[in-house]
Symmetry: C3
Subunit: 450 residues, 3 copies
Amino acid sequence: MTSPLSKKAPQASSAATGSAEQPRTPFGLVERLFPICRSITGNGVRETLAILREYLPELVVHEVPSGTPVLDWTVPAEWNIRDAWVKNEKGEKVIDFRQHNLHVLNYSTPVRSWFTRAELDEHLFSLPDQPDLIPYRTSYYQPNWGFCLAHHDRLALPEGRYEVCIDSTLDAAGALTYGELLLPGSSQEEVLISCHCCHPSLANDNLSGIAVATFLARHLAEHPRHFSYRFVFIPGTIGSITWLSRNTETVQHIQHGLVATLLGGPGNFTYKKSRRGAADVDRAVAVVLRDSRLPHEIRPFSPYGYDERQYCSPGFNLPVGCLSRTPFGEFTEYHTSADNLDFVRPEHLSQAIDIFSQVSNVLETNRYYRNLSPYGEPQLGRRGLYKGVGGGTEGADWQMAILWVLNLSDEEHSLLAIAEQSGLPYRLIERAAAALLACDLLAPVTQSSK
Amino acid sequence: MTSPLSKKAPQASSAATGSAEQPRTPFGLVERLFPICRSITGNGVRETLAILREYLPELVVHEVPSGTPVLDWTVPAEWNIRDAWVKNEKGEKVIDFRQHNLHVLNYSTPVRSWFTRAELDEHLFSLPDQPDLIPYRTSYYQPNWGFCLAHHDRLALPEGRYEVCIDSTLDAAGALTYGELLLPGSSQEEVLISCHCCHPSLANDNLSGIAVATFLARHLAEHPRHFSYRFVFIPGTIGSITWLSRNTETVQHIQHGLVATLLGGPGNFTYKKSRRGAADVDRAVAVVLRDSRLPHEIRPFSPYGYDERQYCSPGFNLPVGCLSRTPFGEFTEYHTSADNLDFVRPEHLSQAIDIFSQVSNVLETNRYYRNLSPYGEPQLGRRGLYKGVGGGTEGADWQMAILWVLNLSDEEHSLLAIAEQSGLPYRLIERAAAALLACDLLAPVTQSSK
Amino acid sequence: MTSPLSKKAPQASSAATGSAEQPRTPFGLVERLFPICRSITGNGVRETLAILREYLPELVVHEVPSGTPVLDWTVPAEWNIRDAWVKNEKGEKVIDFRQHNLHVLNYSTPVRSWFTRAELDEHLFSLPDQPDLIPYRTSYYQPNWGFCLAHHDRLALPEGRYEVCIDSTLDAAGALTYGELLLPGSSQEEVLISCHCCHPSLANDNLSGIAVATFLARHLAEHPRHFSYRFVFIPGTIGSITWLSRNTETVQHIQHGLVATLLGGPGNFTYKKSRRGAADVDRAVAVVLRDSRLPHEIRPFSPYGYDERQYCSPGFNLPVGCLSRTPFGEFTEYHTSADNLDFVRPEHLSQAIDIFSQVSNVLETNRYYRNLSPYGEPQLGRRGLYKGVGGGTEGADWQMAILWVLNLSDEEHSLLAIAEQSGLPYRLIERAAAALLACDLLAPVTQSSK
């Protein structure tokens, strides 16, 4: 009497058995992290971050004591769970946390007692419209206990008495745990990449975001950087609030930021703009998605969603958007046991890493130039810039990129603005600017003169 | 030989017989006012205002002497009419003002003489395309006399001689009459509601506007008000010009204004923006109509129309729009005997009063707030704001309203702006702000600090 | 073995035989200029300008010595050509410049030698997709020689040896020639009309532009002008660069400008905006095309195209757009022998002259006015402005034009802005302003007070 589990269904007992011999791929990381029972505090997050440190040795793990005031909130007691089950009168487990860690209401208080069927039912959560799926439910701030199960299984529970065990702890002397990685660049100005790491066995939400952020960090670490990149792996809401409360100085260095989430499932890329609406990061993501020729959607800011809610609160108003595929609540697998390893497509993780990497490239290379030969067009032929670098359309686009960069390099248009206005790929605009710079036809505009 | 008249067709002889026992409904008011032969001056307006004083005892009636210079104009001689007819050689009345007061060209000069059929014809007005309807025609500023009649009736007039009588007076020692009601609020800042009261027996144009304004005033009088509300019942064009010329001080207090007209006929609400185009009243009407979910249309300002032409002349440039249903000239009954009591729907009057009332509510409650906990989201749960006030979608909208108000209360966004940006109903935004204010999460921004 | 030539095909030998007895029509001018073999320098341009001086006696011809530095460029050696042919072993001409002057690669270096079929082929240019047409090819800045021919003819050339003669000269002591006409107005502020005159026998590109500019100049010369009009007939690119380099003072007087090109072929008017995007000339052309009720297209600026590329380089950033019919590269006849006299429609030239003339009228008459009776509407009736100048719709539009001009003459809206906002034809707005000015209801806003 358990849910029909896929072969990849998590079993709490195997939570920490990820093998270091696995090839270090984004999807491999998702597979290793999937079985762990995470929450907004506790050992599940610590275990997750310990695995991430295998991929990112410089990752720093922070522990913030329960009870610490953080902005308008307080760090809650730390929750841990060893086991949980419901037995019938025959002593048979009818619900078993060890079969699937979604079975327990996240942050359930400890309980060990007998209940009637009716009493038990008040602590059960299921989805009548999706009767085969286990829902994901939490009760962080209202003390409660409960079990989540497939609706079919719930209906099949006969009258009678049930023994309930939730072997959990809520430790007021515990801590909230988060991970932070700083990749220093040549500038103190920072790009923030944030992902939530508080969900138990849900693959798309948000092991996909964790994997993309991890492999993006590994990629960026290998290249010179203008910006410093700060990656935070935090529990949702309370984690970003905790981080913000401890980093009011750091926050002032953040020039651009993205929340990374829901990047492995199906559906098109969807970008939700920052509260500012036309921040460079908003424009950069829009241009990169445009250039990708992938179908995608750009949405305005709204104050609901992931941790961008906190970064974009009016007091901070950071230029942080949220890049995902199909947003939360818009796919039927959302917050159910169907958000499993089968739901995440390895190639979507790679594609997302590429898109984030391209956004980083735009932010890194975007700047203002001044045309040093602004009166009429300079004679391109004698500088070898008249013919295209390739043949056909590429050549025509290259020629147009040269002309656009020359025409708009008036100290008022960034390369990003030129890519937007010309409709040409950013990479082509960037290369055209490099070629013109090499010919002494452009000069970068320095911050002070800009 | 008269037009086919409906049972409700006006008879000048019964003009002042409205019964006080009628229930005081908007449509009842329209019915009482319908038979009166109004013009831009004269006893028809006085009689109308006397009836309005039964509904609005504080209404002040102003008399401005003929010959008074008003802006670029002069108050004309006062026109009154006792009788008018055309008789054939047998002495039979073939056109009779007492059958319908549209039969006489409004502002006709007095005449008593015999004319040939051809001579008479030069003074007849009819509608070949709508041969059953009597047109409404005026000649305020070019002395003339004439009769309006159904085109079928005109064609049926045989050759012969006709005796014509128009028993009218044009009194250079007369006056222009208008009504004005001030509902004082806690502020000297004013909202202007203007409607024209110069048309004879036309029900939609503009007894509908008069009835809506009257019952809106009764409604507002019963509630506390921030703004003072000024209602003017004026003859079209010359009336608003006269009022403006006498109120150059008052005009400076007008913060918002609406012309109320054509509110009883069929068709969707149509709002014509003020000359400013994005005045608060323009935005408030747009949001109220959006929230109503009624089909409607928003149009840009144009310098033709009703008295908004005068209020929005460049010297005054007041934020006054015009709210109607189907605009003038766009329905076939316009300015004909078909604009009768059958054409006005009582429920449309009520709906219009409700819309005006909601616009008033937006203007009254719209203000700027400051989020007192702007760093991250405040913890709503411990303040009882996390769960919705109702169930289902209402709850989700309520939660979103709370988040939007918190996010945008940065002293830069009014509640109206938040309603616009969030797409949520203004009333929900208003209630969310009230709830947050009660929790000390918001503070109103005072005028001086704003 | 020659291309199938139309009766109007150019023969270099008859180049200068234009008859002064021809009626001086735009199309007649195109016909006279068509046979001349022009290039960016040389006698073809001189001959062209000499003919234009018959139409525009004040046209000044400038000669700028080869080797002169002009902005980032240098005036090239002057190219002239007397004859060119390819003969087969039998001495038969298989390609003959005298049959069509497109046959020679423009700016070919001199050559007189024998070549194998394969050697010759490297110097041949044809269009496989348009096998009947001779392409137009140039090599101004890379020394080369070559022949252009129909692809069918190229394929029909058998193996064997060929004698090649190109009897051309490249004279480093030569000059670049251009024409310039200034029509002085009452103001030193200038309108620039620019057209390229460097293409050999191509009728639409750009004899059409030359003809339109010429007849526009003749038209404007007959009327009083506020602006001074400067017409330049210049070789493409190097010509405008040369002119700009010699006129850095003049450039500062240019208030508006248009490049005139491709105005005789089929297709709709297409306007490419100046780099500024909302310059008066951009708005004037848009309103004139709108008022014309002709289908048309307005495009944003792009840094590719005709000499607007130079005028709109960031250092100059002149308000110069480009008005054409179907733009370059978007019709199959472009830069081929099919762009011949049959391709140009005489009535399209007339229509283009009319459009340019109307744009000029807008620029001449566009100004700001102040309503001298801005409080309420002035009484139009007593000034004879109440009834329309014509009947029906014209009358209604006229009345609306009066009201719009009164309402928006607040010193902030030009007549052009009023035409845009009202949707009414500019000419009607202009006439309404004149009528109101005559009634002392408007006063022009002087430059100093504006």
